[in-house]
């Protein structure tokens, strides 16, 4: 029955629908963007209306928000965290810094382009993005999930070597478990 095209479609639909309406964001403020997360999550903007809520550990989370710049030291942790998350998982790049370095493009300690190291599903523009922008970022992610295009994790798997090479290039002391998805 599962092989049946139609039922597969229905299953996919339900899966995507539930994934879309239940987005658990990993509580990891990697950068200064973390300051707009509390307002987004709390009463004034209340992201929980859209099914967005925080998750304490990577095992439970669906979305990794990279809130702004990433230092090399944090990147190492972020990769580890990302690899601990369970499929399907998404990455939201938050603010200018994730796109092209932002203010810190010439800093020796921050990466400039996030999608070289992690697959990013949605970018939110701004420095810092307002809660509205964050919410519309979630909306975009929901759209992407509903259309079944949010396949960052799959891409990561497929291009793991490329990602690894980039990651290892800037993280000198690579001690990390192998990625087993």
């Amino acid at each position: 029955m599962v092989n049946d095209k139609h039922s597969q479609k229905i299953v996919d639909f339900i899966q995507n629908w539930s994934r879309k309406h239940s987005i658990w964001v990993l509580a990891y403020g990697t950068g200064c963007g973390a300051i707009e997360i509390p307002p987004t999550m709390t009463s004034r903007y209340d992201a929980e209306r859209l099914g967005v809520r925080g998750a304490a550990t990577p095992r439970q989370a669906d979305v990794l928000m990279i809130t702004g710049y990433l230092t090399v030291k944090t990147l190492k942790r972020v990769i580890r965290v990302y690899e601990q998350m369970q499929d399907p998982k998404y990455v939201i790049g938050f603010g200018s810094c994730t796109i092209n370095g932002g203010m810190y493009y010439d800093s020796y300690n921050t990466i400039n382009v996030l999608d070289k190291y992690l697959p990013v599903d949605v970018y939110i523009n701004g420095c810092m993005p307002r809660p509205e922008a964050v919410l519309s970022g979630f909306a975009q992610l929901q759209k992407r999930i509903a259309e079944g295009r949010a396949d960052g994790a799959t891409q990561y798997k497929e291009n793991l070597e490329w990602y690894r090479a980039n990651q290892k290039r800037i993280i000198p002391n690579w001690v990390m478990p192998e990625y087993n998805w």
Partner: protein, 189 residues
């Protein structure tokens, strides 16, 4: 206020032979330059004898051209309401200073930072090697001879798509045939 400030300088001068008063300021600030050997004793004296109980800040300035590091200790007395800037210079090639974290415990953090960022050694400092950086292989990054932009360009990738940018000055001079001599170019923006 003026009297008070002169008094402070006088007291420090009588107790520490190498203390030299720095430039004068209209607001509540006194500058004292000392040799690096005197730093622990003068700070201790300021704290214990003169009531400068609060270490407000320690800063380090790299005077690359002069081959020296300048360390600035800013202490504050809630009684006098005066900031005393104790300044000393270290040789850039061999920057060593005595640890002062037994006078103020928070100096420990500053010293860790300077050790990492400027490569200044503090004799007797007990703290883990790494503070902010992790597996850093370059020179101490806050030294002025370390070029962060170049390092970033070399290490991190920039998103392509911006190569068509043009320089306004070059565009105009290309259009009207102006030839800017090389010695003038450094004054272009």
């Amino acid at each position: 206020m003026k009297e008070l400030k002169e008094n402070i300088i006088q007291r420090l001068k009588t107790n520490f032979a190498d203390a030299v008063a720095g430039s004068e300021f209209s607001y509540n600030r006194v500058d004292v330059h000392v040799k690096k050997e005197t730093i622990p004793s003068i700070l201790f004296y300021l704290k214990e004898e003169m009531g400068y109980v609060h270490l407000s800040h320690i800063s380090c300035v790299d005077w690359l051209e002069e081959g020296e590091f300048e360390l600035v200790f800013i202490v504050w007395s809630p009684v006098d309401k005066v900031k005393v800037f104790v300044k000393t210079r270290l040789d850039r090639e061999n920057p060593v200073l005595e640890n002062i974290d037994m006078i103020w415990r928070q100096a420990n953090t500053y010293e860790r930072e300077f050790r990492e960022m400027f490569g200044i050694q503090f004799t007797g400092l007990v703290a883990p090697d790494e503070f902010i950086l992790e597996d850093w292989q370059g020179p101490p990054p806050f030294r002025r001879d370390f070029d962060t932009a170049e390092y970033a360009k070399k290490t991190f990738w920039n998103r392509p798509g911006r190569e068509d940018a043009q320089d306004v000055r070059e565009t105009i001079s290309g259009r009207d045939g102006e030839e800017i001599p090389d010695f003038a170019k450094k004054y272009s923006r």
